[in-house]
Symmetry: D2
Subunit: 280 residues, 4 copies
């Protein structure tokens, strides 16, 4: 499915500063048909790959300016598979690949080490990992209130599991933490999202189930096949849209994700069947 | 400098379980002259590399047994450079390599995002990054009490900065968190440590200063040139000696690190000169 | 019902210190038939009443000694009423007495302000306050594991609601925090407990329901009519057995609670009927 | 000194609700020359005293209305003593009155139990309790940034000691927690404050030193003799301006404190002399 995505970010740079951006569409699996990055006033930038995840970062060394304008635009054919997940027996942790094991560890916003009993009391009885993730995703959807402004950049899954309010980032962190507490590898996933209202960057999560990464979204705000992938990571610490170092004021952000094909059939996950989507 | 290191771990395995070990000496820089891993009763294991850091992991799929014995022994020539760090001007974050940037992010046990004001109030006035890290390491040494049993696997830098007691792991986490809060990349470092009393695995931290990783140890328990490197990572979540999945009881752990050369001159960092040590 | 209660506490006093004890049976409602406090070596002490709750405190000014022995013994006729709680309509907060209102506020170990959504999502649908408290008490019983040594003096309800392990103190704190989050006044209750195994001081909680304080115990470890009341308070900060100021080492504690009557009929609360017990 | 104080609060009441107000000037020590409370639309209210502190509360049972207007106005002669605090030897905790002991305990927003080492490392060396409180108050003033909107109703001293930003409430909580960690009783103090810019309710704290309650204010925003006392308590949980139960929207708040005498000589505490002020 082809999408045209766009992010326009504006900042006021008050001192010599650096910004590390994570707004480029990932090149793994999905196909970048065209893309461009415009920065005004003209600024040197450097493209980087994060080591573990191969996320595409852009680092900017900035001088003071009233209006730094960053505009990224791309046409991307996203790549996903929708399939039915068959019942399966328990995963042997010792058989997991090295690059998956890391996603079992607790991270800044996903303190899975504190949630073992809770996760197992609530979801341990389900018959396999797919049903566990499905159940916890549905529980988050039912119990956590989507409330803009209720959380901040320090809010973590440990807070959200009791405070039960947040935004997409918090929903994803809680999903990840509960998965890891159930010994299911899970990671953060950011992207451009078709039909997200209001339009913005979106975050959800992937769980490693039966040998593959499957996408889950406890917000239920979008069709799961309408995403253009930007980055993956352990949690939002790895995949912030912009990491800012210096005295920088945020001015505005406009994000869009438009469909270029005609035949989009939205896929929503249902908590009672075993259809799932994979982007990896 | 050549060392003979040894780790003997014993566990009771109560159910089918998995253990991921991180006790092998790293192969980067230092030279493994010989090594062997013995597991009794005989058990299949798999060697893995963690993606981001190339730590050497061993994963074991285990059946119930009264006494699982894991014995690792190696002769290793460690590798380090001791040098004087010259005064330098501020680092431009935008120039950092992609694989260093990740160590600026907050992590599970190093919530640097919560310590910006504190770190800058306490150490921001120092004239360059080296002096800042030196000062914060010394402050931890002076103010945090080394107290076995005072902390547990959930304790983080955010706790230690106020509770001011802990073990080597906690000292390292606090050092890392304060560095990152000062926009200095920092990472966790584990190893076998010569002259550590009582003998055990040791943890300290590296800060990325003027283009290189330098080792710091706020515990001041060992000569800094007596380490055999096992693993690096964001924090202890990346470099646990053993990650255990299943019903496993710890029985005992014996760790040794003996010197095979004659001419060891211990290097201790002093908080008032600019001599430092690098293992990378 | 008459009980003979006894507490023998031993400490090593390493420096000039003060201890504030809360081990005397309360005089409100229940009848103290006889009591004595023996302290060896002989030590001046002062009897105090805490202002808000009229708990009986004893303060000791201590000089260094190898073995401070404190022995309290009392024969007490406890006082309670068991009755069926009829269905009732919602309580009007504005009608509550001033001395009850304070038990709606969050306290050190009962951060009810962080649990509003969780408490209401889980128990808000129940038809009156009695059913809510009954349901939350039963939920704690089912989900929190009684595990000696799993928590410490800093553990609070905010921890226990996710970590789901603790001792009687933690069970009580979580019950209180959930009540207050549901706008039901609740307070901490300590006492000597008949048939508690192993014998020790016990803690549970009272909720203010339909104009009266009712006792609840999420541990289900004792018959609820076998308690001799020591103290009430907002949480354990108000009702610690001993507050210690100075360098004091704990040696031992022996607590007993024996029945002096013949006709004890144990009362246990059931989560499906509306029988309850009140000590106030 | 005579002051005219006024508080105008407006709320939208969306459902049947209760509000417990704490805006009346305290009657202990200071003299209420006149006062009135106007509520529109006319509403029944009840005056209450909090048990422990004799704070004057007003409880309102409210029906839905677009604009509930609460207006309190009083002319009050405040009462204080300014004096030099002589050097004194250590306080014997066992000699403290029962109603003071409670202010040594940790409370919701003042987790002194977590700050023992920090407080003693930083201020333990000072020669008496007065110098300790003076030093910690000055440290807060120097290190914590006064920043409206940086904290919320869940923020506690444990957060502020590391995050180092907040408003008057947070400054007071941190002062109280550090005092208690040094075994100095301390309590929260709210009032109308002359020359506070912008005009609002103010919070500071009292420490019990050498047999008397002395007032401290780490914000340094006001002359300490320009306060009309409203309430005392363990922390803000005991002395909130308004505790709201039900669906209520805040509309506005206007607070004033005007001087009616001519001869006001502002008293500010200096961190290097031993002049102090007591309102109790």
């Amino acid at each position: 499915m082809k999408f045209k995505v766009n992010a326009d970010l504006k900042y006021k740079i008050n001192s010599e500063s650096s910004i590390i951006l994570s707004i480029h569409a990932l090149k793994t699996e999905q196909k970048i048909i065209s893309e461009q990055l415009l920065i005004s006033p003209e600024t040197d930038f450097k493209e980087l790959l994060s080591t573990a995840e191969a996320n595409r970062l852009v680092s900017l060394a900035l001088k003071p300016t009233e209006n730094l304008s960053i505009s990224y635009e791309a046409t991307v054919e996203n790549a996903f598979i929708i399939k039915e997940i068959e019942a399966f027996s328990d995963v042997n942790i010792a058989k997991l690949p090295g690059d998956v094991l890391t996603y079992l560890n607790p991270s800044r916003y996903c303190q899975s080490d504190k949630l073992y009993r809770l996760a197992n009391n609530m979801f341990g009885y389900k018959k396999d990992d797919f049903e566990k993730v499905q159940a916890l995703t549905y529980w988050i959807y039912l119990n956590v209130e989507y409330l803009s402004g209720s959380t901040n950049s320090e809010t973590s899954a440990y807070d959200t599991v009791t405070e039960q309010a947040g935004v997409c980032r918090d929903f994803a962190h809680l999903g990840i933490a509960l998965c890891r507490a159930l010994t299911i590898p899970a990671r953060y996933f950011t992207g451009y999202a078709y039909q997200l209202v209001p339009q913005d960057f979106h975050a959800c999560f992937e769980a490693y189930i039966n040998g593959q990464w499957l996408l889950f979204d406890a917000t239920r705000l979008i069709p799961l096949n309408g995403m253009v992938k930007i980055a993956i990571g352990r949690d939002a610490a790895d995949a912030a849209v912009a990491n800012i170092f210096g005295d920088v004021s945020f001015i505005s952000s406009v994000v869009t994700c438009g469909l270029l094909d005609n035949d989009f059939e939205p896929f929503y996950q249902h908590h009672e069947n075993r259809m799932a989507i994979s982007y990896s």
